[in-house]
């Protein structure tokens, strides 16, 4: 597969995943602030801006933090690379550029949703944004169903999977950090109805509430929630699951040079650290927030390695006049940047 198109498919994967995740983050907050009347002292919107690296951007363009403006920034603001609209615009442009590699159904699905979104945002008002956010979930879920059902398990699929897996792994710590940032008014509030309500909201936002109840029954304990979201290999939105997808995709893509081999080894080590009981101990020893920072850092390194290995350079065997051959890595030419890659690492 061409390096350029491989990169496009990888981007398509992570843009679709990110679109869904932004909608999920908004949902967490919306759900956490349902009882806004009762707990009016909570600022639920600042943490979300911190987590999506949007604080500066927001202060510059919007001023007062309130639901309407945060929602606008994260859903409809196409100048913000971390908005649903920007992600979908880019995803569609990329899908158009790799149309020959994705199935007709997938292209139609993206294009239809794009037109629907543009109609939704053309009105200016975002009164029904929760409704739209649900549609984003459905769009993303249907997307996964379609690629599962219609795409050959070749390189195109594997690079898309690589994008999905990595972005998913990166998002879980961010969602957990929302809870961390949302400091409770007092230490006594730990275990209070508000605390429990927030954990429930967090689980719901990752479609994890049912999974949690099935595994651990109704009582919500923070340590178990953290375990489910980070370490459970079977839960499809856990960190472990995301990294395993990355590892499986890399194995299927194959290892044709040393960098590719090293990248795979690196991913396997990451996966090993998430397996077994060691990680739970790490989390306790380091404290959740520090552990999440480490995870963020590792994901970032992984993203950089993937870029370097597959998209920035290419392996070439050159033949000189004496018919000697030499295998070297040469830089790929500069790509046209369709989006800001700051969050991609």
């Amino acid at each position: 597969m061409l390096s350029r198109t491989a990169h496009s498919l990888y981007q398509l994967g992570f843009l679709i995943e990110r679109t869904e995740n932004i909608a999920r983050i908004l949902d967490v907050n919306s759900r956490m602030s349902v009882e806004h009347e009762v707990f009016s002292e909570l600022d639920v919107w600042s943490p979300i801006l911190e987590i999506t690296d949007n604080m500066d951007n927001f202060e510059e363009h919007y001023g007062e933090i309130c639901e309407a403006s945060v929602v606008r920034l994260l859903l409809a603001d196409s100048d913000n690379p971390y908005s649903v609209r920007a992600c979908l615009l880019n995803a569609r442009e990329i899908a158009r550029s790799v149309r020959e590699l994705i199935s007709e159904e997938i292209w139609l699905h993206i294009n239809l949703f794009f037109h629907e979104m543009e109609r939704e945002f053309s009105g200016g008002e975002l009164r029904r944004w929760q409704h739209f956010s649900e549609k984003v979930h459905m769009f993303a879920n249907a997307f996964h169903g379609m690629i599962y059902n219609t795409m050959v398990r070749g390189d195109a699929w594997q690079f898309m999977r690589l994008g999905f897996g990595l972005e998913r792994a990166r998002m879980i710590p961010r969602i957990l950090q929302i809870k961390y940032h949302m400091l409770l008014p007092s230490p006594e509030a730990v275990g209070s109805p508000l605390d429990i309500h927030q954990w429930q909201a967090l689980l719901r936002s990752v479609s994890g509430y049912e999974a949690y109840r099935r595994l651990y029954q109704a009582r919500i304990e923070p340590a178990k929630v953290v375990n489910l979201l980070l370490l459970n290999p079977g839960f499809p939105r856990s960190l472990h699951f995301g990294i395993r997808e990355v590892s499986l995709a890399l194995r299927e893509i194959g290892m044709y040079n040393e960098d590719q081999y090293r990248l795979y080894q690196h991913t396997e080590r990451f996966l090993d650290d998430l397996r077994g009981g060691a990680a739970s101990e790490d989390i306790i020893a380091m404290g959740l927030n520090d552990y999440l920072s480490t995870v963020n850092q590792r994901c970032k390194t992984l993203a950089l390695m993937i870029n370097k290995t597959f998209f920035d350079t290419i392996t070439v065997t050159l033949t000189d006049q004496q018919s000697g051959s030499l295998t070297i890595q040469i830089p790929q030419q500069q790509q046209i940047q369709l989006y800001t890659e700051q969050q991609a690492g």
């Binding site: 350029r4 491989a6 442009e93």
Partner: protein, 491 residues
């Protein structure tokens, strides 16, 4: 519902007396039955289907630019088996002769030695590609893919208006339009015996593959990128052929072999289908500022390690001034009379023609030889006295730069649109672009269909999409279908 007040002397659907032509009876009845509201509904679903498929071109280049669909006109254009047989034979003859012509002028130049065409006409043309001299493309084939523009004159005779031997585009609309038709008017499509068009990608693939000795050749399509207005077609063809869609940055040449850069290292390409103008394909040989091409591509080509389709340098054969010589070219190489006539053409470079042109400017269309897309054209009958005088001066100053042709009455066809505040079928001018591919053994195959373009503006003769043109699905019928189809099979 059918308004024939704007009909040309030859209308495709209505005969001289205003009666519906035999082959159009079924279509006429079908649309009459649907009524205006039924047809409007069909039009909406057709437009929506094209928008959702992304069969669009962007009006502004940024990602949020307005997207427009290439208007699809509901009523299909019908071509009978008899008419088609002539068109097909005419195109095969023409492409065969032009291939021989190109091979000749880039080698021995016998046709120039014979004096049939003045040497200055060819060698002085800025479209003559010196880099192709003495180069032997596989099979001696220069034209792998061609689109020939045809019009129908006042007597209903098909004539060649123009050859497109470089990057003919539009074939994806032929295939997509048929898909739309089969979705929104399956009954009508089923009541005619229409030849399929969906096999085009396979035709193209097999023609291109024949130029490689490989069992499983690697074929790639070189596109300028996603912002090119024909990008949809590039992606469509690559996808349908199972070819790689590549940009210049994806390719490199090493030791005269063309490779693409893949995630597994570099991979050899056997056939490169160029959808890029010649001047951009290799910065070492042509325009040095081109970032769209591949340095060293022409060396790999000259070494015989890759086939380029179409071959560079074909422009000299579809040049407007060469057009006048095409009947002679067919006679010279094939010893046959042309099956499809051309529009009579006066060349400014011939003194007798020039005198006629200067005297009859108001009866002619004048075109610069080196421009396309309708630029710099003078339609004598529509020009003011002052414009005529100005053009006369230009013609005298640079006679070889212009050709003149009698103003042609293009045939008309009913097209569904709004006129005088009501929606109805009005007569609009049309043309036809059939597509042909050529294999290494010289066999030319014509796709049994074509792009019918419609000038949607009242009275307009310009069918280009940039000038408000639309397209029609074109149904080429099997033999005898005109006798059995209308009313013969039920809807």
């Amino acid at each position: 519902m059918f308004d024939i007040s704007d009909a040309a002397p030859f209308d495709e659907a209505f005969g001289e007396s205003g009666a519906v032509r035999d082959e159009y009876v079924a279509a006429y009845n079908y649309f009459s039955q649907k009524g205006v509201s039924g047809i409007e509904h069909m039009q909406q679903s057709a437009d929506l289907s094209l928008l959702n498929q992304g069969v669009t071109f962007t009006v502004y280049s940024d990602a949020r630019g307005t997207e427009k669909i290439f208007p699809y006109d509901l009523m299909p254009r019908l071509i009978t088996a008899t008419e088609w047989a002539r068109i097909e034979a005419g195109i095969i003859q023409r492409i065969t002769a032009l291939n021989l012509f190109l091979e000749d002028i880039y080698h021995d130049q016998n046709i120039l030695r014979s004096g049939l065409i003045p040497a200055s006409q060819i060698l002085g043309s800025n479209l003559y590609c010196r880099e192709m001299s003495g180069l032997d493309p596989a099979g001696g084939i220069h034209i792998h893919i061609a689109g020939v523009d045809l019009i129908r004159n006042q007597d209903g005779e098909f004539m060649v208006l123009e050859d497109n031997l470089r990057c003919p585009s539009g074939v994806s609309y032929v295939v997509e339009n048929r898909m739309v038709s089969s979705r929104i008017m399956p009954e009508l499509l089923g009541s005619y015996r229409v030849r399929p068009v969906s096999q085009y990608p396979q035709m193209l693939f097999e023609a291109l593959a024949s130029f490689s000795g490989e069992n499983k050749p690697v074929i790639a399509l070189l596109t300028p990128g996603v912002y090119n207005s024909a990008y949809f077609e590039h992606a469509f063809l690559a996808s349908q052929m199972g070819a790689q869609l590549v940009q210049g940055q994806d390719l490199l040449v090493n030791n005269d072999i063309l490779y693409m850069k893949s995630t597994r290292g570099i991979q050899r390409i056997d056939v490169l289908y160029l959808r890029l103008d010649t001047e951009f394909i290799d910065p070492l040989v042509f325009r040095p500022d081109s970032l769209l091409g591949v340095p060293g591509l022409m060396h790999a080509y000259r070494a015989g390690n890759v086939t380029l389709a179409n071959a560079p340098g074909n422009g000299v054969a579809d040049d407007k001034s060469l057009y006048a010589y095409t009947p002679d070219i067919i006679r010279y190489y094939l010893g046959e009379d042309p099956i499809l006539p051309i529009v009579p053409t006066y060349l400014g470079s011939r003194p007798a023609d020039l005198a006629y042109m200067l005297d009859n400017l108001d009866k002619l269309v004048l075109k610069p030889t080196d421009a396309s897309g309708g630029y710099g054209i003078l339609v004598g009958s529509h020009a003011s006295k002052q414009e005529l005088a100005e053009f006369k001066a230009k013609l005298k100053a640079e006679p070889a730069h212009y050709i003149g042709q009698p103003i042609q009455q293009l045939s008309t066809h009913p097209s569904f649109l709004e006129q005088d505040n009501s929606k109805k079928f009005c007569a609009r001018h049309i043309d036809l672009r059939p597509f042909a591919v050529c294999s290494a053994d010289g066999t030319v195959r014509v796709l049994s269909g074509g792009l019918t373009r419609v000038a949607l503006r009242r009275g307009s003769l310009v069918v280009n999409s940039s000038q408000g043109g639309g397209s029609k699905d074109t149904w080429v019928l099997y033999p005898d279908s005109a006798d059995t189809a209308p009313g013969g099979q039920h809807a």
